[in-house]
Symmetry: C2
């Protein structure tokens, strides 16, 4: 059912039907009523592709999510979606994974779809390849990155200050008397590099002169378990561990228990992300809440403002908050 079908049956022109569909003035009440009746009868639903084509605007935005294993990220995506659905926008969501190749591919797809704005969620969007793809295919529309930033005129960033956050974790551990700290990392994302930086800065601020102890682990419970055992074998003096993600902290905590350590007196540890792992592990894990949900909400608001022709801050850093539980 097109606007022409309706027009023919009503004995009017397509223009008139269009006016009725869009509730525009200048249509005789009786004509309007007749047309409205037909619209209902045939459940007419305007073709948004055609409309988008002529209007040069389709009320679609794109959402790219880097890591769907992180519930905060997916929740963030839905937050953005809800915010835009309220405004009558459609969201095209792609789960890009952590690689750059897929990301640039999806950037091109979104460009072809002529989305009017994009929200990217994840620190892994902060790469040269993404930057290039954006500047080539998306230089005309506003882009807001959650937990990332690119130095381009149309890109805005809403980031957790993970560096500062982790250094406050160091402070916390020191304040509880844990001064020989180690960091267990899972992978070298921009975000994790900041965490390590925060770890080192925290130690420095506390006057520690030696090189920071950093171990690598697989992103699994078992990986963390093994690495934690290895860590304490090689560095028995360690009495505080910061894990780059809660998952690791959960697996590591189990290792500590099995090794007979008393938590948190003898050894304390924290996770990062304040995920379900932190909340539901035994013992419950002290963690750093990056407030990704708030960040996503802020990103959505920014994009809304930008689409409305308004301004937004180019780069916002939000402080993370420590959620203290039973491991410190």
């Amino acid at each position: 059912m097109t606007i022409y079908d309706i027009a023919k049956e009503a004995g009017v022109s397509a223009s008139t039907v269009s006016r009725v569909v869009n509730n525009k003035p200048g249509v005789h009440p009786s004509t309007k009523e007749k047309i409205e009746k037909l619209l209902k009868k045939y459940h007419y639903s305007p073709n948004e592709m055609a409309r988008g084509l002529i209007k040069q605007s389709n009320h679609m935005i794109g959402i790219l999510v880097a890591d769907i294993r992180n519930v905060h990220y997916t929740d963030g995506a839905y937050t953005v979606e809800k915010e835009f659905a309220k405004l009558g926008y459609c969201c095209i969501i792609f789960n890009t994974g952590s690689g750059s190749a897929e990301k640039t591919e999806y950037i091109q797809v979104l460009s072809k779809r002529r989305v009017e704005g994009v929200v990217m969620i994840g620190s892994t969007f902060q790469t040269k390849e993404v930057e290039e793809a954006v500047s080539q295919f998306m230089s005309e529309i506003p882009i807001v990155i959650v937990n990332g930033y690119l130095e381009l005129p149309n890109v805005y960033g809403v980031l957790a200050d993970e560096c500062a956050g982790v250094s406050t974790l160091v402070d916390l551990l020191f304040s509880k008397g844990h001064t020989r700290l180690a960091f267990v990392n899972n992978c070298y994302t921009p975000s994790n590099l900041l965490k390590i930086k925060g770890f080192e800065e925290g130690l420095e601020r506390q006057g520690v002169k030696e090189k920071a102890v950093v171990y690598d682990a697989e992103t699994t419970l078992e990986g963390a378990y093994e690495v934690t055992k290895k860590l304490l074998r090689e560095h028995p003096e360690i009495d505080g561990i910061i894990y780059s993600v809660d998952l690791l902290a959960s697996g590591g905590g189990r290792a500590l228990l099995d090794m007979g350590y008393h938590v948190p007196d003898q050894i304390a540890y924290t996770g990062i992300d304040n995920s379900v792992y932190a909340e539901f592990s035994t013992p419950k894990i002290t963690s750093l809440d990056n407030k990704l949900l708030e960040l996503s909400m802020m990103a959505a608001r920014f994009l809304v403002d930008l689409l409305g022709g308004g301004k937004a801050t180019k780069k916002v850093m939000v402080f993370s908050a420590i959620v203290e539980r039973e491991t410190t």
Copy 2:
């Protein structure tokens, strides 16, 4: 940058450029090369709205998710998304919430967007209102519902057999010597009604004559906590509880602990959904895995087949599996 801009600069017609863009034969190699150079130079990206309009197909599908608090649902949505992204489809995702009004609204939105297929995730799509909206606005495209079904020619269902599942939970409890059972329900969704039915059928099969004990609780840890206490005050004989969702089981379990019950000897309980609550609560909760991820994957495959002109089973019931942990 449109195809005409490229054509003008190359000194050819739009038709020729179109042929090159779509890699169609019949273009002289030298012409082709010249055009390709320009396409790269200007980062030409074809307007998919225009393309969709003329081609009468835009490679978009819609995903409606009823409940984003259920991680399995959101995971399911991403599973579907990934499956379709592989095939070059775009997914428009809407989080509809549990109400019917929003659902019918989003069905209309998807219809205007001319999506070629839809996946709905959640039992709450199984309502009269949704059925009507679908038959009015979406009778021409294939729809697959995860955990739901509608009696319409273009609707396909992939469901967990929750009724059978819960009755096997009853069997499990009986086999462990727990014969005075209660069911704690959170809300009366079609899915939960089936669970209750399974509960009653299970009891009947085990030869229980009395009326099944069913309590209602808010969908919160605290709600389950309170209701569990009330339940055991009013029915001290109860020695087994099935909670309609893991969240309740987690909260209820805490109440049992606080009341001094010994789990699972004195009283046993289970959740449903096999969510993080089941896995991470202490004690770890025995739960029913509805295999929503597999269901979603199956739904995606069905829709792919249907879009490819193939057939799919109208309604598939998948057996749920008990994941036994520490509470039974």
